[in-house]
């Protein structure tokens, strides 16, 4: 677990760390997404050999299921889906809200530490 990324995401979200106005949620989402990737990497590292980039997140999440069980994989999947969407531009979807990202950060935080 890299507390720094996730903590930073939180502090951006609640304004403790300065961010351009209107971009807090998006920036927090990027930070949280990074934290999630790191976390999944760490979890997969329990498996030998480690699955680092450029192995796709999908592959890593599939493997995660076999190492840590369905529940952990599901949690990571939910967080990944939410954060990934928040980190891409969608023509038909509005920007993520702070509360939404806050929730996703909680989901990431709920993953077991490797």
């Amino acid at each position: 677990m890299t507390p720094s990324s996730l903590d930073l995401a939180r502090s951006v979200l609640d304004g403790r760390t300065a961010a351009p106005p209107g971009c807090q949620a998006r920036i927090a989402a990027f930070l949280a997404r990074q934290a999630l990737q790191d976390e999944v990497d760490a979890l997969c590292a329990a498996h030998d050999p480690a699955l680092r980039h450029p192995v796709t997140m999908r592959s890593r999440l599939t493997v995660l299921r076999f190492i840590h069980g369905a529940e952990v994989a599901r949690t990571a999947e939910v967080a990944w889906q939410g954060l990934n969407e928040a980190c891409h531009h969608h023509a038909y979807e509005l920007s993520p809200t702070a509360a939404e990202i806050d929730h996703l950060i909680d989901v990431v935080a709920s993953l077991p530490s490797s």
């Binding site: 450029p54 192995v55 796709t56 599939t62 999947e77 939910v78 509360a99 939404e100 929730h103």
Partner: protein, 814 residues
């Protein structure tokens, strides 16, 4: 959350109440059961019975979950957006099924068809009658127009519900029928016994209806909640008790209202009985037995009645008897008079003297008369003396006889006079004829001295006496009859009143007990209602907590307030910690989520025989975070329910695809001419196939990882396919889900599970032949068993082809 039957809750509460005694408690429980039970309880046990302990409420003791039904398919022809026949296959048994399709793809036609077939109405139809009514037939193919809904009921097997329309029929002119496997078609759907459950649990809910759930009148929501919570039973009990109480109070009320009238009529008649009855009625606690005696005349009758009855039977000597007595008396007097020349003493002395003289003669022969000294007692004298003595004896006998006769005649005459009863002298009742009778009696009994005078008296007075007494007799009889005639209705009235009074008295204990029971329910229903609501409210809050995600509205207490006829469901909430009512502060999207939070626990109540829940487009206006929460809620519910969600929102299918194990996705596509086709897009088994494909196509993943992970994925995929087939087959055949689940979890080896799915027997001898019939089957089974532990040598796409074939073999086997 299997909940305690309401009757048990009431029982516990009643048992814990020290102020509630045994009988009212039993009455409450009986009233909750049925009218008959309540009556039986009232009749069987009086308060004096020894307490029998808690009643055994066998009707409510259920250890197993109720028999349930799952959907197996919806087939639609010529209805709404569906032209030629289209079938939506649904895997029976617990699981999450997403029916995805663009707006206008025809997916909602399936939902509406289902709703129409099962509930006979559609919310859309009711609310938007005009639009809907004109467009319910498919435009491209309006005929034939049919709906077939396939269901599988635990314990009984397949059921088909059909709806048919003739070419020119209106929407409501349909023919609805049901058919159980191997049985005849039955008209209507009531035969399935789900009428109540369909209303109560509403397993089919559309987006519009969700919106209206909270928009409607508070009382409707309240009633719906009450029904679900089984509180109807409590209300029924209250009503039954009220009805019985009213009935029990009727005699007392009636007796009270009739009493003044009874008094008035009793006062209006002159009758000693009436007076006595009134005296009794004036008491605070009239002696009902005394009153009954008066009414029926079974007790000692009143004094004047005795007198009247006596007078009515007044007897006088008959003319013959009288004449006889008088004649005899006169004859006796006459006979005695014939012997008036005889003096009895002289005759006796003479006879005695002659006797002695004859003895002298007899002893001494002829001697001079010792008495006169002049005559001689010789033989001539002796002859004469013997004649004289005989004469004297004769005279004595005749005289004695005449005297005795007279004595007898006189006694008879006196007896005759005395035979007339003197009661007439003491009569105090006003009777016209009594005075004359008294005079006649007085004359009759004033007997002159002298036998002949007496005879004369009897002769003279008899006629007067007879006519006077006859008159009294007639008048007394008439008066008596008059009395009885006027008394009879009074007696009847008194008797009727007594009957009421007795009924009231008999019902007094019952009335008290029922009244106590009724008051207890009123007092405790508020507590009971909310105690009852608690699990459902908790469940709703739990669901809300997962749905709300970014909402700052926190759901608080959910309570049923007010009385049964004007209650409401109040939903409290806090917004950032401030108390408020939920409905006031929620956005439209939040209201929908709240409606879902309230609706889902209701639709999935353990008692519902409908093991399916159908949601039509529930996620409109729901943001992505809520969809996550929603899917996790649905996925949880789908562990023991068949959850079917119709959705046009890609995001829902996407979340299900990526985050659930038990979700499957069916895509509905509508092409020109209303040709609707259905494609199974994703099942739990194909999900694993896709996982494997993604992993194998990611060339960055090390081979060692592939070799370790892919066999496991194959096993999951094969078991998921086998499970789906096994559950589907068994549930369709009518097995109950508990036994299906047990059979499934009893065998953990992949090969056995496949055998179970294909042949219904984990050790089926057919398995070997099946395995070797296609080379990929053996390869796959080996990979899924040994490969998981030892690792396999995975050769890219070959494995995917094998797995795909294997899954098809399992799921599509005949």
């Amino acid at each position: 959350m299997r909940e305690q039957p309401i009757v048990d809750v009431v029982f516990d509460l009643a048992a814990a109440d020290p102020d509630l005694s045994e009988r009212p408690a039993r009455l409450i429980l009986a009233a909750m059961e049925s009218d008959e039970a309540l009556l039986a309880e009232l009749e069987s046990a009086s308060a004096t019975d020894t307490p029998t302990g808690p009643p055994v409420t066998t009707d409510y003791v259920e250890t197993a979950a109720p028999i349930g039904a799952y959907l197996t398919s919806i087939e639609v022809t010529g209805f709404r957006g569906v032209g030629r026949r289209a079938t939506l296959p649904l895997t029976p048994g617990p699981g999450l099924i997403i029916v995805a399709g663009r707006n206008g793809s025809g997916k909602s036609s399936f939902a509406e068809a289902l709703e129409l077939a099962l509930t006979g109405d559609s919310f859309r139809w009711v609310e938007r009658a005009a639009q809907w009514m004109s467009a319910w037939r498919n435009l491209h193919q309006p005929d034939p127009c049919t709906i077939r809904v396939g269901l599988a009921e635990e314990g009984s097997g397949p059921i088909t519900v059909g709806v048919d329309w003739t070419p020119d029929a209106e929407l409501t002119d349909c023919t609805l029928w049901t058919q159980r496997s191997g049985a005849k078609r039955e008209p209507g759907i009531s035969g399935l016994g789900w009428d109540r459950a369909l209303k109560l649990y509403r397993p089919i809910l559309s987006y519009e209806e969700l919106g209206h759930l909270l928009d409607g009148r508070p009382i409707d929501l309240y009633r719906a909640m009450e029904r679900i919570l089984g509180l109807g039973q409590l209300n029924d009990a209250a009503e039954r008790l009220a009805t019985v109480l009213k009935r029990l109070k009727i005699p007392e009320a009636e007796a009270r209202s009739r009493k003044p009238h009874l008094r008035a009529v009793l006062e209006s008649v002159e009758d000693a009985r009436a007076t006595e009855a009134l005296r009794e009625l004036h008491r605070r606690q009239p002696d009902l037995d005394v009153l009954a005696g008066i009414a029926t005349g079974s007790d000692a009758p009143a004094a004047d009645l005795v007198v009247l009855r006596d007078l009515a039977e007044l007897a006088t000597p008959t003319a013959d008897a009288t004449t006889g007595v008088v004649r005899e008396l006169r004859k006796a007097v006459g006979e005695l008079a014939e012997h008036s020349d005889v003096t009895l003493e002289l005759a006796e002395h003479t006879s005695a003297l002659l006797g002695q003289a004859l003895e002298v003669h007899h002893e001494h022969g002829t001697v001079p008369c010792p008495v006169c000294g002049q005559g001689t007692l010789d033989d001539a004298w002796r002859a004469a003396a013997e004649r004289r003595q005989a004469q004297a004896t004769e005279d004595i006998r005749a005289l004695t006889k005449a005297r005795a006769r007279l004595d007898r005649a006189r006694t008879e005459a006196r007896r005759l006079i005395a035979s007339v009863p003197g009661s007439v002298r003491q009569v105090a009742i006003k009777l016209d004829t009594v005075a004359a009778a008294k005079t006649a009696y007085s004359s009759w009994t004033t007997v002159p001295s002298g036998d002949l005078a007496m005879a004369e008296h009897i002769e003279t007075c008899h006629a007067e006496l007879t006519s006077a007494f006859d008159a009294v007799r007639v008048e007394a009889a008439e008066t008596l009859k008059l009395r009885e005639d006027s008394w009879l209705p009074l007696a009847q009235e008194l008797a009727a009143w007594l009957e009421l009074k007795r009924a009231a008295l008999a019902a007094a204990t019952d009335t008290d007990d029922v009244s106590t029971a009724s008051q207890w329910i009123t007092k405790n229903s508020g507590v009971l209602r909310n105690q009852r609501l608690l699990p459902l409210a908790d469940e709703a809050r739990r669901i809300w907590a997962r749905l709300r995600q970014e909402s700052n509205v926190d759901l608080g207490r959910i309570t049923l307030d007010g009385q049964p006829h004007h209650g409401r469901l109040s939903i409290n909430a806090t917004v950032d910690g401030t108390d408020t009512t939920a409905l006031a502060v929620m956005s439209q999207g939040e209201l929908h989520a709240l409606a879902l939070a309230l609706f889902l626990p209701r639709a999935t109540m353990p008692d519902s025989p409908l093991r399916f829940v159908v949601l039509d487009d529930p996620v409109q206006a729901m943001d992505p975070a809520k969809i996550d929460g929603f899917v996790s809620v649905l996925s949880d519910l789908a562990r023991d329910r068949q959850i079917i969600v119709f959705s046009h929102d890609d995001r829902l299918a996407d979340v299900v695809r990526r985050t659930t194990d038990n979700g499957q996705i069916i895509e509905v596509i509508r092409e020109s001419g209303s040709a609707v086709s259905v494609r199974r897009d994703r099942t739990p088994a194909t999900r694993y196939l896709e996982d494997a494909r993604a992993l194998l196509h990611d060339h960055e993943v090390p081979v060692s990882v592939i070799d370790k992970v892919v066999p496991g994925i194959c096993r999951l995929a094969i078991e998921a396919a086998a499970r789906e087939r096994f559950y589907g087959r068994r549930i369709k055949a009518g097995s109950d889900r508990a036994s299906v689940e047990k059979d499934w979890s009893d065998f953990t080896s992949t090969t056995m599970r496949v055998a179970l799915a294909l042949f219904g027997d984990p050790k089926s001898p057919q398995m070997n032949r099946w395995r070797s019939a296609r080379d990929w089957r053996a390869r796959m089974l080996r990979l899924a068993t040994q490969g998981v532990h030892q690792g396999g040598h995975i050769v890219g796409d070959a494995v995917l082809v094998d797995l795909s074939n294997m899954l098809t073999d399992i799921m599509d086997a005949r």
